[in-house]
C-alpha cells in the first residue's frame, strides 16, 4: 500500500518539477551533472566515444550518429563555448604520456578524487597507485598531475577537491622517471 502511495506521489512530483528545456521534451538538464554516461542507448554511447566528451543533456529520442552533419571539430568548438556560456561543465584536457590522443573530461561531473581517478583509469586503461599525502602516488608507474591557474604542475590530490576543480586547467598523466620531482610532497 505504502509503496503504491509513494509511487503516486512520485508521479505527481514529476509533473510539477521545474525543468529547463522545450516543452514536450523529457530532457533532464541539471547544471553541472551529466547523465550521458548512464544512458544504455548504444547510439548515444557511440557519440560519446567518437566525440570524446560528454554532453550535459540528451533527449530520450536516440541521438542519431552524425546527424545533423556538422563535423566533430566544429561541434566541439561550439560546444565548449556553449557550455562555458551556460555555466555548465568544466572541461579540461587530459593527456597521458605515450597515448596518441588527448581526451577531454568535465570535472564538474565528479564529487571527489577517487571518482575522478576511476574515470581516468577507465579512460586510459591504466591504474594509478595509492595516494599518500607526503610521498605522493605509490605502486604504479603512472602519476596524475595537473596544471593550475598559475601554470604550476601539481600532483592531483594535494589540494582540497573544490580548490582543485576551480584551479585545474589541464591534466597530464605522467609516466615513470619524470614523476620523481613531483612525488615527494611539497
Amino acid at each position: 500500500m505504502e509503496k503504491v502511495g509513494d509511487y503516486d506521489e512520485l508521479v505527481n512530483l514529476k509533473a510539477t518539477e521545474l525543468r529547463l528545456g522545450l516543452p514536450g521534451t523529457e530532457e533532464t538538464v541539471s547544471c553541472g551533472k551529466s547523465n550521458k554516461r548512464a544512458l544504455p542507448d548504444d547510439d548515444t554511447e557511440k557519440e560519446i566515444e567518437s566525440t570524446g566528451k560528454t554532453e550535459t543533456a540528451s533527449p530520450p529520442k536516440a541521438q542519431i550518429v552524425g546527424w545533423p552533419p556538422v563535423r566533430s571539430y566544429r561541434r566541439n568548438s561550439i560546444q565548449t563555448k556553449k557550455n562555458e556560456s551556460e555555466g555548465q561543465g568544466n572541461y579540461v584536457k587530459v593527456s597521458m604520456d605515450g597515448a596518441p590522443y588527448l581526451r577531454k573530461i568535465d570535472l564538474t561531473v565528479y564529487k571527489k578524487y577517487p571518482e575522478l581517478m576511476k574515470s581516468l583509469e577507465n579512460m586510459f586503461k591504466f591504474s594509478v597507485g595509492e595516494y599518500f599525502e607526503r610521498e605522493g602516488y605509490k605502486g604504479s608507474d603512472f602519476v596524475p598531475t595537473y596544471e593550475d591557474k598559475d601554470g604550476d604542475w601539481m600532483l592531483v590530490g594535494d589540494v582540497p577537491w573544490e580548490m582543485f576543480v576551480s584551479s585545474c586547467k589541464r591534466l597530464r598523466i605522467m609516466k615513470g622517471s619524470e614523476v620523481k620531482g613531483l612525488g615527494c610532497g611539497v
Binding site: 529520442k61 550518429v65 566533430s72 561550439i78 563555448k81 556553449k82 556560456s85 593527456s95 596518441p100
Partner: protein, 633 residues
C-alpha cells in the same frame, strides 16, 4: 604573354615544316588508343608519319611531334583537358604523361602509388583525397584506411623534386611527415585538410627541414598535442613563408616564437592563428605584419582587460593593415572588441564568423560596410534578421554558409525560409550555399531557384529528419524540384526534409550537370535511387544514408559505377547478396561493406544486412590494407 607567343611561334614553325612534308594524312594512330571521339583532322595530320616525301631529311618525325606536343601541352593545366589529350593515341599519352606536373587523385584507392610513379615521371605537385565525406560525421570507423604512408614512400623515390602536397581526409603520421621533410629538398607547399594521425611533432619536423617552405596550411585537421614548440623549429633567418594556417591546432603555442617568425617572414601574406592567441598578441602580430592579406584572428579576446589608454589601439592596427581582404577566427569573441575590424570591412572579400556567437545587433554595424564580400560564413545566431542585413549590403556575395550554433535536431532554430528568401532577393550573384535550419518552406527554396540562376552548389540541411514544409505541411519535393529545374549550372546538391520519390524523379531528370549528390533520410522506395542512377548523366559522387533503398535500386546503377568516383550507402536496406552481385558483375569496381563498429564483430561479418556499402572504381583491384572489419566482396 610574350613568352607564350614566342614558344607558339617557334612551335608553329615546327608544325609548318612538318605539315609541309605531307599535307594529306593517312591513318592517325599506329597503336591502339582507347576510344576517342576527339580526334580531329589536325591531330591525325600530326600523328601521321610522312611517307611520300623525298628530298629533305627531317629529324625523326616522332621527335618533332613530341617537341611540338610538349610545347603545346605545357599550356594545358586543366586535368579534364589533359585526360582527353592523353586518349588520342599512345604518343600523345606518353607526351602528356611527361608534361603533367600536377596530379590530382580524387580517391587514393582508385590506383596504387606504383601506377602513379610509372605513368607520370615529372610530378611536382600531388593532390590526394582519401576518405569519403561521410567519414566526417562518425559514420566510418577509425582505422579504415587512407594512409599517406605508401604514397610518401613511393613519391620520395620517384619525385625528389616534389614541391607541393595537398591532402584531404587522409591518415598522416608523424613518420610520414618526417619522411616528406627529408625526401624533398625543394618542398614548398603542405596543405592538410580534414586529416588526422599526426601531431605537433610531425609539424615541427616539416617546419625545421623544409627550408623552401612557402605554405604550411593545417585546415580542420586533428592535430595531437605532443607538447612540442613547433613554431620554434623553423630555422633562423629569413623564411620563404607566404601562408601559415594553424587555426585547427588545439594546443597552446609559444607566442614569442610566433612573433619572431612573423618578423623574419617578409613574404607572409596569410596568417591564421589558433584560439590560444589573445587579442593583445594578435595586435602585436598585426603591427609586425601590416602586409597581411588574410588574417585568422585567434580568440579575439583579451587576456587582461586594461582600461583606457593602456589598452592597445586595435582599430588602428586594423587600419594599418590595408591589404586585409580575408578575416576569420573569432574563436572566443569578446563582443565589445568586434567594431575594431571596421576599418577593413570595405575591403573584405571573405569573412568567417562561423565560430562566433554573433547576434543580429552585433552583426549589423559590421556587415553594413562589407560591400565587397564574396564569401560569408556565420552561425545561425545571426538570425533571419542578420541574413536580411547581409542581403541588403552584400551584393557581391558568391558563397554563403550558415552553421547551427546548436547542432541538434530539436534545438530552437533562429533561421528559416525568411532568411533564405531575403538572401535570394538581395544576393543575385550567389553561386554556393550551405544552410542549416530547423524549418523551411518550398516557397523560399523556389524563390532562391528563381532569383539565383548562378547557383552551382545548393546544400540545404533541415535538421529535423523528415520535416515537411512548415507552412503547407507538404513534402519538400517542389522546392528541390525548382532548384534542379531552374539552376541550370548546378553541380552539387544536398537534400533534406520530407522528400518522396517524386523529388528524385526531378533530380534525375533535370540535374544534368550534378556531380555530387548527398541524400539523408529521404525517399520512399528504390524508385528514387533508380531515378537518380538512370538520370543525372554527370553524377560522380553519390552519398546516401538512412534511406529506404535496397538491392533493386543498387542494381539499377550497374551500367555506370565504373564511371563514378564512388557510391556510399549506409543504413539503407541492402543485403550482402545484392552487393555481391555488383562486385561480381563489375571487376573494375571495389565493393566494400562494413558495420559501424570497428570491433571485430562476428555478427556484421556473417549477417546478411549491410550497414555500410562503399564502392569505387579502381585500376589496381582491391586494396591490401583493409582492416578486419571491412569486407571486400
Amino acid at each position: 604573354m610574350t613568352e607564350e607567343e614566342d614558344s607558339s611561334a617557334k612551335m608553329s614553325e615546327d608544325v609548318k615544316r612538318y605539315l609541309k612534308l605531307d599535307p594529306r594524312s593517312s591513318s592517325a594512330a599506329t597503336s591502339e588508343p582507347p576510344c576517342s571521339s576527339s580526334s580531329s583532322s589536325s591531330a591525325s595530320a600530326l600523328a601521321n608519319k610522312s611517307r611520300n616525301f623525298k628530298s629533305f631529311e627531317p629529324p625523326c618525325p616522332d621527335h618533332v611531334l613530341e617537341n611540338v606536343l610538349e610545347n603545346v601541352l605545357q599550356f594545358l593545366t586543366s586535368r579534364c583537358d589533359r585526360n582527353a589529350v592523353s586518349l588520342v593515341c599512345r604518343s600523345w599519352w606518353r607526351v602528356e604523361a611527361q608534361t603533367r606536373f600536377e596530379v590530382f587523385i580524387g580517391n587514393c584507392y582508385s590506383l596504387s602509388p606504383v601506377r602513379l610513379t610509372h605513368r607520370f615521371t615529372r610530378v611536382r605537385s600531388l593532390v590526394l583525397k582519401g576518405k569519403p565525406r561521410f567519414a566526417d560525421f562518425n559514420l566510418m570507423p577509425r582505422n579504415w584506411g587512407a594512409q599517406f604512408a605508401p604514397w610518401v614512400a613511393a613519391t620520395a623515390k620517384a619525385y625528389p623534386w616534389l614541391e607541393k602536397v595537398h591532402l584531404k581526409r587522409m591518415f598522416v603520421t608523424d613518420d610520414d611527415l618526417a619522411l616528406l621533410a627529408e625526401s624533398f629538398p625543394g618542398f614548398k607547399d603542405l596543405t592538410l585538410v580534414c586529416c588526422e594521425g599526426f601531431g605537433t611533432s610531425g609539424i615541427a619536423v616539416v617546419a625545421n627541414k623544409c627550408r623552401q617552405l612557402k605554405v604550411l596550411d593545417l585546415l580542420e585537421s586533428e592535430v595531437t598535442d605532443d607538447e612540442v614548440d613547433w613554431l620554434s623549429c623553423f630555422p633562423a633567418g629569413e623564411t620563404h613563408l607566404e601562408s601559415l594556417s594553424f587555426d585547427c591546432v588545439e594546443s597552446p603555442i609559444s607566442f614569442n616564437a610566433l612573433e619572431e617568425l612573423v618578423v623574419r617572414s617578409p613574404f607572409l601574406k596569410k596568417l591564421r592563428t589558433n584560439r590560444f592567441v589573445s587579442l593583445e598578441e594578435l595586435h602585436r602580430l598585426m603591427v609586425r605584419a601590416p602586409q597581411l592579406t588574410s588574417l585568422g584572428t585567434g580568440s579575439f579576446s583579451p587576456d587582461n582587460v586594461l582600461q583606457g589608454e593602456q589598452e592597445p589601439d586595435y582599430a588602428a592596427a586594423f587600419r594599418a593593415c590595408k591589404s586585409i581582404s580575408c578575416l576569420s577566427g573569432f574563436r572566443d569573441l569578446t563582443p565589445e572588441y568586434l567594431p575594431a575590424i571596421s576599418p577593413v570591412c570595405a575591403n573584405l572579400t571573405s569573412l568567417n564568423f562561423s565560430y562566433a556567437n554573433i547576434s543580429p545587433d552585433m552583426l549589423k554595424p559590421i556587415i553594413r560596410n562589407c560591400h565587397n564580400i564574396r564569401v560569408f560564413w556565420a552561425l545561425d545566431s545571426i538570425c533571419d534578421e542578420g541574413l536580411q542585413a547581409v542581403a541588403a549590403t552584400c551584393k557581391e556575395l558568391r558563397e554563403l554558409r550558415v552553421f547551427p550554433f546548436d547542432p541538434r535536431e530539436d534545438s530552437e532554430g533562429p533561421i528559416s525560409g525568411v532568411g533564405l528568401q531575403a538572401i535570394s532577393e538581395g544576393c543575385r550573384k550567389l553561386e554556393s550555399i550551405l544552410y542549416f535550419c530547423q524549418r523551411m518552406t518550398n516557397g523560399a527554396v523556389t524563390a532562391m531557384s528563381e532569383n539565383c540562376p548562378q547557383l552551382t552548389v545548393f546544400r540545404l540541411c533541415i535538421m529535423g529528419r523528415h520535416r515537411p514544409d512548415h507552412v503547407t505541411g507538404k513534402p519538400m519535393d517542389d522546392g528541390f524540384g525548382a532548384i534542379v529545374k531552374n539552376c541550370k549550372k548546378l553541380t552539387r546538391l544536398a537534400v533534406s526534409g520530407l522528400l518522396t520519390d517524386e523529388a528524385f524523379s526531378y533530380i534525375g531528370e533535370y540535374g544534368k550537370l550534378i556531380r555530387t549528390l548527398s541524400v539523408a533520410f529521404a525517399g520512399n522506395s528504390d524508385r528514387a535511387l533508380r531515378y537518380v542512377l538512370e538520370g543525372c548523366p554527370k553524377l560522380q559522387k553519390l552519398e546516401i544514408r538512412d534511406s529506404p533503398f535496397g538491392d533493386v535500386g543498387l542494381r539499377s546503377g550497374m551500367h555506370r559505377y565504373c564511371n563514378m568516383r564512388f557510391v556510399w550507402l549506409s543504413s539503407c536496406v541492402l543485403s550482402r547478396g545484392g552487393c555481391r552481385e555488383v562486385a561480381h558483375a563489375l571487376p573494375n569496381v571495389v565493393v566494400e561493406v562494413f558495420g559501424s563498429d570497428d570491433d571485430d564483430d562476428d555478427d556484421t561479418v556473417t549477417g546478411d544486412y549491410v550497414e555500410t556499402l562503399y564502392l569505387y572504381r579502381s585500376l589496381d583491384g582491391p586494396r591490401k590494407d583493409a582492416p578486419k572489419f571491412v569486407t571486400i566482396l
